[in-house]
């Protein structure tokens, strides 16, 4: 019975002009460039792969230790290590293109010029479905303030990248702000086609024996199941102020979390830290979602999106 109902459920979702075969993507920085998981996951089945954040040039990354485990979560401070956009285009993208999966290039920079440079280089690359803008980076030209903390800078970098590329533009919002809805509106004003909500929460831990920070760079980004309620609330807050498509991110470790994101108004989700400790979760969630929809009498997953009821 369940396999019959499963096959009759449509899981396709539209993120603006981008049609995804299902709403289960994998988040930037947790899935490498895809090939790392090819033994374990049929990449072609995923709703999409958001690759590790790309910069104009090779980035060395931070000194280790780069991770610290926390209660039901982890801190990371990788320092945006990546191969750079040229090597991505030459070596990493071609094998992904053959998988028939939507590939989203996450990009970052230390100045608007750097962001624009990466976006221009990726414009027209075959097999890219969209760009995702990581705005949780310090702007070295304006005293190191994070683009994502300032509505004006958020709008500026969004519109600059939008003008530099014909690809749909997803803006990944930082949760380390007072009112995330203000940043969502700023990204929308800059021309964002969708919003990825949320990036990691800033945090730190200390090694009591040495009295030093556990991470070499003192603080890092908290991710994992521990942040799920925060992420869900922020998707809820963003959904209240915009009708842009939302990709819900933060602490997904089971179908229940996926369903909660969709109910509050996410149009799709990205599985993140769970890829590290449960590498086949993303693929299993696709099957589980289809089965759940069938059992719930839905023929289309979009019937579930944004159906949160008033208390």
């Amino acid at each position: 019975m369940s396999s019959m109902s499963k096959s009759s459920v449509s899981l396709a979702v539209d993120i603006g002009s981008v049609r995804l075969q299902n709403p289960i993507l994998v988040a930037s920085g947790t899935f490498g460039y895809g090939a790392e998981f090819a033994d374990l996951v049929d990449l072609g089945r995923l709703g999409g792969i958001v690759v590790k954040g790309l910069s104009l040039h090779v980035e060395v990354g931070n000194n280790p230790p780069r991770i610290a485990e926390t209660t039901s979560g982890m801190l990371n401070s990788i320092g945006l290590q990546n191969v750079g956009v040229e090597v991505f285009l030459e070596e990493k993208l071609p094998p992904l293109q053959q998988q028939g999966v939507a590939v989203v290039a996450n990009i970052w920079g230390r100045s608007i010029e750097e962001y624009v440079g990466v976006a221009e280089r990726l414009d027209g690359a075959e097999g890219l479905a969209a760009l995702e803008l990581n705005i949780s980076c310090p702007n070295i030209k304006q005293g190191g303030i994070n683009f994502g903390k300032d509505p004006e800078l958020t709008e500026k970098v969004t519109s600059a990248v939008k003008a530099a590329s014909s690809l749909p533009l997803w803006v990944k919002l930082s949760p380390n702000v007072t009112e995330i809805s203000e940043l969502a509106l700023a990204a929308e004003a800059g021309g964002a086609d969708a919003l990825s909500v949320i990036n990691t929460l800033r945090g730190m831990t200390v090694d009591v024996g040495s009295r030093r920070p556990t991470l070499a760079s003192t603080f890092g980004g908290l991710s994992g199941p521990a942040i799920f309620p925060v992420a869900l609330y922020m998707v809820h807050e963003v959904r209240r102020v915009t009708s842009l498509p939302i990709l819900g991110i933060g602490g997904i470790d089971s179908l229940d979390r996926v369903l909660q994101f969709l109910i509050v108004g996410a149009n799709a989700v990205q599985v993140g830290t769970a890829n590290f400790y449960d590498p086949t979760l993303s693929a299993r969630l696709i099957d589980e979602l289809a089965e759940w929809c069938g059992d719930a009498g839905l023929t289309d997953v979009t019937e579930l999106i944004g159906t949160l009821r008033e208390t």
């Binding site: 790392e36 590790k52 990371n76 470790d253 449960d278």
Partner: protein, 285 residues
């Protein structure tokens, strides 16, 4: 003389498995050390010496991450078929302490085999003496390597260091395999009173001329000291690193160490380009 190992050794083209494995047996070696014997014929049959697995420790998602563990032995049935494998574990934190509490019949989720293996001598290369240098739980990958080298007809000698006699690891493995053993302890309770590098250097001075290959795994200061010994003696050395890691698959980029790269260096992943490296490629700082 063996050809020098290439940077990062070889990545066997074997698929990675993610398996739910039954714990057959947990043998306590000391209050802090134990051996886990797991089912998992696929991993056992396909792994090479030096490779590792990522295993859950129990705890329903807390701790969140799997732990990297070197494969210690391949377990075989009476016909010689690989049926499972063992892990040699030392309690270093909450995760390994939870692992110590597992019971036979418990199920662990295990990902592997992962990473590079020790580079074995090419068939037909002249016989050399293979010297395995280990400190503490760094002993874990060496019984499997010793077995592989002996199978190919090579001569193997193990240099084992520990804080104290009760914590010496793998003695029964080497006895079982017929491998000669040299021992040192920090407190002098067994073998030479001192460091494992001292017994290694002593041995290298006394031995007859001839090719030798070094392998080391243990605390970073120990491996750095073995590297210095290897350079003085002009002998090739392969080192096996450990590092905190989240995925074991090359995605999280947390387990990096510095490797020489052109005129400078770059961060490379212990889980992917390693855990076994040519010591000459490592930036020892």
């Amino acid at each position: 003389m063996l050809p020098p190992p290439e940077a990062g050794a070889i990545l066997p083209a074997m698929p990675i498995h993610d398996l739910s494995l039954v714990l057959r047996q947990l043998r306590h070696l000391s209050s802090q050390q134990f051996i886990l014997e797991l089912e998992g014929a696929e991993i056992a049959a396909e792994c090479s010496p030096g490779q590792f697995v990522m295993t859950t420790v129990g705890g329903e998602g807390n701790p969140l991450l799997r732990r990297p563990m070197a494969i210690h032995r391949v377990l075989r049935d009476e016909n010689g078929h690989a049926t499972g494998f063992s892990l040699l574990v030392e309690v270093v934190g909450r995760g390994t302490a939870m692992l110590q509490q597992r019971q036979p019949g418990d199920v662990l989720n295990v990902l592997g085999p992962l990473g590079t293996s020790f580079r074995m001598p090419e068939p037909g290369t002249p016989a050399a003496e293979h010297l395995l240098v280990m400190g503490g739980v760094g002993s874990a990958p060496f019984p499997l390597l010793a077995e592989g080298l002996l199978r190919e007809g090579h001569s193997v000698r193990a240099f084992i260091g520990a804080r104290t006699a009760d914590l010496l690891l793998c003695l029964e493995d080497y006895e079982d395999l017929g491998v000669a053993v040299e021992i040192s302890t920090d407190d002098g309770t067994r073998g030479r009173h001192g460091l494992v590098t001292e017994i290694l250097e002593h041995y290298l001075k006394e031995r007859e001329e001839g090719p030798a290959v070094l392998y080391a795994c243990g605390p970073l200061p120990m491996m750095r000291a073995v590297d210095a010994v290897a350079k003085r003696a002009d002998l090739p050395l392969q080192v096996s690193f450990e590092a905190p890691m989240a995925c074991g698959l090359g995605a999280c980029l947390s387990c990096v160490i510095k490797l020489r790269d052109g005129d400078g260096w770059s961060y490379q992943r212990v889980c992917q380009e390693g855990p076994v490296f040519d010591s000459r490629e490592v930036v020892w700082e």
